[in-house]
Symmetry: C2
Subunit: 491 residues, 2 copies
């Protein structure tokens, strides 16, 4: 068993096996991801039986499986693994998460998680204050990520609309909103969201006013803005959107899954000005925040807005237990059994402090800007015109620009897949407007995307990668891959 | 950073701090949970700042927080922590989970989780086969737990009803069904489920036939049965319910969150006969299965039933990437970013094998039966008449039987809270029929509940606890608590 007074002694040799296997797997991988594509990974797994008749024992099972998973990882601790909002976790967070696994507090009732309840309460209070500083009555929930937070944002609006005259809520969001907004509407049985065009990648407040005015008179409305789009890292004009929502008595939800942690930095927080006017705000600490998945947050301006989540189940929060002072946790989530993700968040925030979190966020943003400058200076690459979004940079080989649009896009997609297949880089892809003066301003192209979430990476770490991306037609050199090294850091 | 070639070296000292803090906290707790109730726990936390201006460093933060959480845990590795379906995790599972935290694969696209994708595929194939052996085409998803699995069960039925004539699905479940069934219907915008009475705690197939016949002619129907009720561990009569559903062309979902892992045991699997006739089946490996939360499963008889979850998001599974052979993971969950919970499950199943899993399940069931016999032999306690449900035993002090019903129930609730407050035991509570011949057969009483999920506990470990529960009026003896010891086991 992992818990109890003997738990640590049982765990110690096994965590030793895991750390050795992680080390061995990373060395064997020797890069940001395994080469050989899906087939190569399947081959290494071989005929390993997951559920044999007789077990192979804990140490053998851990050595085999952890080595395979480490060797076959797309490891965001390698700077060249930069496709997604997929961060390298801090060691302090991963270590704290071990305690969560060993003790297994379940956040559905106090008597399964006495101290973890206290930790979660303290953490959510800070996470609410981060978005709504200086106000009374905000609150925050820990979620499984932006998708669940957005679902909650829509659900709370749905329930409020129901409670005020039995109305249906209509969601108005940007065409660049995360897919989870549409998925949440589908899940909740709501009408399909009204998707407003986003010229330049940002939601246009005037277009939102128009969309709100066009809704049926008896509908309630929820405007969903984005602070950090997935494709470009762009932040919608929040103050003007808050004005538009207020003018139509619409609720405002901001999906700041990516951008929310800018609030740790006094220098960068102004980019999110207006977010405090939202009724609810999504943000993730498993993006900028360097937590292992999951570490999602939903912050609300007023704790009373969470009332529709209240639920009584006699075995977990009977009235007489609640009256006797046992905290009632069931209204803090849509899940029942729930891992104490607050513990790793608490350990990280306390270890680094607000200054430390701010420094890491600022570093990612600065590195992205330096990378943009290097791309601008590279003869074989063209960056998407305009500024960088948070820490996202879009670019493409100039060779793609010389081709007809469809072939150019196919080349971009091919470069990405080739780098994946060769185990050299995990770059993302995004379709976005170009903005070159000689092309149709509304025309979109496919771009390579680098999302910088590595707090110790330097722009120079990407130089080799940029050269590879710029020479899509060149034959693959057989040279051994070198692992990009960073300046480390022990948290 | 926790990942990369240097990750293990950064993690090693911090996991050492965590293991020391777990050990120190467990010793200081000296029992199944901290004494002093919620106030006592809050006091130990003191004025500790979660988000200080300047950080205290990783080692200090981990030592402080993990010690607090360990000292203040309701630790299911102590046999007297037996209220809920809240298991002590195996060390092998907790250790494997450390690798998940360190590498942070995210299960929303192959290029964030190459090898973890392979592991999940192998694990879900086995988990599907466990429910649907010898059939072609079953599948399984990893979920955050029974609540999400039940949500998926209802969602898939909703979508099928929509696809076949735009019908609404009506859910028919037992009054003893888990609260997540009603909550899922609410979330999905479905009509409130028809709750059928459960005399004796089990769903009556004739009553289900009646409820199905009474539905509007144009409604689609979903019968939700339970294999292991939360309160009593009872299993609904699955074959007769499958017949009833088939006769009305209704879909069948079985919530086997608790009972599903009986299928690992050839001796116990017959208790779940009929489950293989369900369209979808919920089960949890963070109950019987000894995984840290979360380790939920939804198995479906036919992989095609999962089609409504398909989703395309260009940044994660663009068509040309999928056509080029990159696995598409987005339709495998309602979440987007997703922790590789399959890894700890794989390590556990491979370490123990099917025999080993069966032995642990059988041990829990046998211990519950032995505990029932001890309660029957105890002069101060009365067990709820009838057999034990899976590994759940209901009982109450005979002193409560001597009181008027309401006062008797209040006494039972009070005993539970006193044991909690004193840090002596975490017992559950359940309202259930009595069945004593001299009382109204339909009358319900409040019972103490012991749910045995500790695979190394022995019935004798509970003797002191039974004495405490039997003497509700006695003054609290000030004797020091002793920690219950078990026969250990290193997995």
């Amino acid at each position: 068993m992992a818990g109890g007074v003997d738990g640590a002694d049982a765990l110690a040799p096994l965590t030793g096996v895991v750390l050795d296997a992680l080390r061995a797997g990373a060395v064997r991988r020797g890069g940001p991801l395994p080469g050989g594509g899906p087939e190569g990974v399947e081959e290494r797994f071989g005929a390993l039986e997951v559920l044999p008749r007789h077990g192979v024992g804990a140490e053998t099972a851990l050595r085999e499986l952890v080595e395979l998973v480490a060797e076959g990882a797309a490891d965001p601790a390698d700077p060249a693994c930069a496709a997604h909002l997929h961060c390298p976790p801090l060691a302090v967070a991963a270590a704290a998460d071990l305690a969560a696994s060993a003790l297994n507090p379940s956040m559905d009732s106090w008597d399964q998680a006495p101290a973890a309840t206290t930790v979660e309460r303290a953490v959510t209070a800070e996470l609410a204050r981060l978005v709504y500083p200086g106000t009374s009555g905000p609150d925050a929930l820990i979620t499984s990520g932006g998708t669940e937070s957005n679902l909650l944002g829509l659900l709370l609006a749905r329930e409020e609309a129901r409670a005020t005259g039995g109305r249906t809520v209509r969601v108005v969001c940007g065409a660049t909103a995360h897919h989870s907004v549409r998925r949440a509407a589908w899940l909740l049985g709501l009408p399909e969201p009204v998707a407003v065009e986003c010229p330049g990648g940002r939601l246009d407040p005037e277009a939102v006013r128009g969309a709100l005015a066009a809704l049926p008179a008896d509908a309630a409305a929820l405007v969903v803005a984005t602070a950090g789009t997935t494709d470009e890292g762009l932040i919608d004009p929040l103050p003007a959107l808050a004005d538009a929502a207020a003018a139509h008595r619409a609720r405002l939800h901001v999906d700041a899954a990516y951008g929310g942690p800018l609030l740790f930095s006094e220098r960068l927080a102004p980019r999110l000005a207006g977010v405090e006017r939202a009724d609810s705000v999504t943000y993730d600490l498993h993006k900028l925040g360097w937590q292992p998945v999951a570490a999602g947050v939903l912050a609300v301006a007023d704790a009373r807005y969470l009332a529709p989540l209240q639920l009584t189940a006699d075995y977990l929060n009977a009235d007489d237990d609640t009256e006797a002072g046992l905290p009632d946790l069931l209204g803090r989530s849509l899940r029942t059994s729930r891992r104490p993700d607050a513990l790793k968040i608490a350990a990280t925030l306390r270890a680094l402090g607000r200054d430390g979190m701010a420094a890491l966020v600022e570093r990612c943003v600065a590195t992205a800007e330096e990378l943009a400058a290097r791309i601008d200076a590279h003869p074989g690459l063209r960056r998407r015109p305009g500024g960088t979004g948070i820490s996202t940079v879009l670019f493409r080989p100039t060779a793609a620009d010389g081709l007809p649009p469809e072939q150019g896009d196919a080349l971009v997609a091919e470069v990405r897949r080739r780098l994946l297949q060769e185990g050299r880089a995990v770059l993302g892809r995004a379709r976005a407007e170009d903005g070159e003066t000689d092309s149709d301003p509304g025309m979109t192209r496919l771009w390579l995307k680098a999302t910088l979430l590595h707090p110790h990476a330097r722009a120079a770490d990407f130089d080799g990668l940029l050269d590879l991306a710029a020479e899509p037609a060149a034959p693959t050199p057989p040279a051994p891959r070198t692992t990009a090294r960073t300046d480390g850091g022990t948290v």
